[in-house]
């Protein structure tokens, strides 16, 4: 489907955890086709804020034939504007954009790793992989810095998903970083593995270093970079990717991504 720009009304906005909100709106055209990993650009009605550029957000859930949810955390101008939206307010939504996770990793196991506000596309992916039912085992590792930020995912995750929570300070789940949790799962499953992740660059970089390409045949990372156009025009959002040997190419996060082969991305 070609992306569509629409002014839509906010159906609901609700706080979920510290600085973390769900935004719900209706957009049947995209709802019918959205794939895990894809994102949309959200923008304010002209004049209704001082946000200038649209901002990218992964789709979190499609909860009916027409209703879409975004999960976001406040950082700066745009996300604070979003947190102050009220039902009935209009927002611009441009999507669906970007590529998607590989949904056919082959039979075997998959580990899904969501760090902080990288969790939304991971949840949609978990739903989809579980529905496809081809995997032997599906682990989801979700890491936050502290308990107050933790989003309670149980209601939205399929029962077949084995969920592991880590917090850096140990205030909820296992204490430590997601990498430790991933390592212990890796020890249990010696089968061919797919690892999918979305989160801070430092986390995804650390994962790329602990994963063994022999064991992990598919390592997909959903990347972030500042965006303007969201569809490949401005060349603003590039990610350095090693393509064969040492040569680095800049691939557009919005067009060739946001999902890249995590072994090829230059993390440093």
């Amino acid at each position: 489907m070609k992306p569509v720009f629409k002014w839509v009304r906010v159906l609901q906005i609700s706080g979920l955890a510290e600085r973390t909100y769900i935004l719900r709106f209706e957009e049947p055209e995209s709802a019918a086709v959205i794939q895990p990993g894809q994102f949309c650009m959200i923008s304010p009605l002209p004049g209704s804020s001082n946000v200038f550029l649209p901002r990218p957000f992964s789709y979190y859930r499609v909860i009916s034939r027409s209703v879409i949810e975004i999960l976001f955390r406040t950082f700066g101008r745009a996300t604070r504007w979003m947190a102050n939206l009220a039902p009935g307010d209009e927002i611009g939504v441009f999507g669906p954009l970007g590529n998607t996770f590989n949904l056919a990793p082959g039979p075997g196991n998959a580990i899904l790793v969501g760090g902080g506000i990288g969790i939304p596309p991971i949840v949609m992916l978990a739903e989809r992989l579980s529905a496809l039912g081809r995997l032997k085992r599906l682990d989801l590792v979700y890491g936050e810095s502290t308990a107050s930020r933790v989003i309670y995912l149980a209601p939205v995750l399929p029962a077949s998903v084995r969920c592991h929570l880590t917090t850096e300070d140990g205030s909820a789940g296992q204490r430590g970083l997601v990498t430790a949790a991933v390592e212990s799962i890796l020890k249990e499953c010696r089968d061919p593995l797919a690892v999918y992740t979305c989160g801070p660059k430092s986390m995804m970089g650390a994962l790329s270093r602990i994963l063994d390409p022999e064991q992990v045949t598919l390592f997909e990372t959903s990347c972030e970079e500042n965006m303007a156009c969201g569809m490949g025009i401005c060349q603003g959002c590039v990610i350095p990717v090693r393509t064969g040997g040492d040569s680095v190419r800049y691939l557009r996060c919005c067009a060739e991504g946001p999902v890249f082969n995590g072994f090829e991305v230059q993390w440093a």
């Binding site: 200038f52 550029l53 500042n226 965006m227 303007a228 569809m231 025009i233 401005c234 067009a255």
Partner: protein, 312 residues
């Protein structure tokens, strides 16, 4: 009779005065499904250099108040790939829209090489020569700040090319009028103003500039007053010249009103840049708002408004 939005300038017929600016619409293909540039006055393609350029490391862009900074580093497919892979597609999809190819180089010779090659290719209606990209040269000073280089580039390309040549100037000079005059003297058929302003944003938490290269080019509505002032000033200067050339107004245009500011200041055509990122159909909306304004104000021909803001 309906409203006449056509503009004849640079020796070419434009179906309407709204083009999309270089670097903000790629090669016209990515947006085509959402915003076919064939509806517009024309497409100005991303700057082409002789060799393919990977561009600068990220972050390359960041939002500022009513604007953005970019330091793309002239990433482009390079002359050969452009001519072979991009241009034929563009030409086949242009319809009545004009195809303006923006060229640059890192030496006078490269400018001439690229300009000459593009100028000889089929499907190109005009050249726009990017004299003012502030990203590439060390620090601030850019290629187009020097009258001599401007003359050499413009005259050098025109020796080999018959197409209309538009010199795109940057506002980062003491006297944009002098550079406009140099370009016209050297044979430029039109002037595009303005390119971005040099700017920087610093992240206080990281204690570092946000953009990897430090400096970036400032664009968007924040700079519109600067662009309108440049067009007004250069238009004034054109009136004093023997053979004035048309001006293409660029900088912060996001609405019909914004475009009309430029037209009234003296622009025959306008280009929509950064606003394309806010809404994929921004340029078409600008066009529609221009038409609505003309209709409600009883303006019969858009060209009747060009330069009207000057003392009469």
């Amino acid at each position: 009779m309906g409203l006449d939005l056509t503009v004849n300038c640079l020796g070419l017929p434009f179906q309407n005065p709204v083009l999309v600016a270089s670097g903000t619409f790629g090669y016209g293909d990515e947006y085509y499904e959402v915003m076919p540039f064939s509806e517009l006055g024309g497409l100005v393609t991303k700057t082409i250099t002789a060799a393919r350029r990977e561009g600068n490391p990220p972050p390359r862009i960041v939002e500022t108040d009513s604007g953005m900074l970019n330091s793309i580093g002239l990433a482009n497919v390079g002359l050969r790939a452009f001519l072979e892979e991009k241009l034929p597609w563009i030409a086949a999809h242009a319809g009545q829209a004009r195809v303006v190819v923006n060229v640059a180089g890192f030496s006078v010779e490269e400018f001439i090489e690229v300009g000459t090659a593009v100028g000889g290719a089929k499907g190109v209606d005009a050249l726009e020569v990017n004299l003012g990209c502030p990203n590439v040269r060390a620090g601030y000073i850019h290629f187009g700040a020097d009258e001599l280089s401007v003359r050499q580039v413009v005259a050098g390309i025109l020796k080999n090319v018959r197409l209309p040549l538009i010199a795109k100037l940057s506002p980062n000079v003491t006297d944009i009028g002098a550079l406009a005059e140099a370009a016209v003297d050297a044979g430029a058929d039109g002037l595009s103003l303005i390119n971005t302003l040099p700017g920087m944003k610093i992240d206080p938490l990281k204690r570092r500039p946000v953009i990897s290269m430090g400096f970036g080019g400032l664009s968007g509505p924040a700079i519109r007053p600067v662009g309108v002032a440049c067009v007004y000033k250069v238009y004034q200067q054109m009136q004093r010249m023997e053979a004035p050339v048309p001006i293409v107004g660029i900088g912060g245009i996001a609405s019909g009103r914004d475009a009309l500011e430029y037209i009234l200041a003296g622009a025959s055509l306008v280009q929509v840049g950064t606003a394309n990122f806010l809404h994929p159909r921004a340029a078409a909306n600008v066009l529609q708002e221009i038409a609505a304004f003309c209709e409600s104000e009883g303006v019969a021909k858009i060209t009747d408004l060009v330069g009207l803001a000057h003392e009469r």
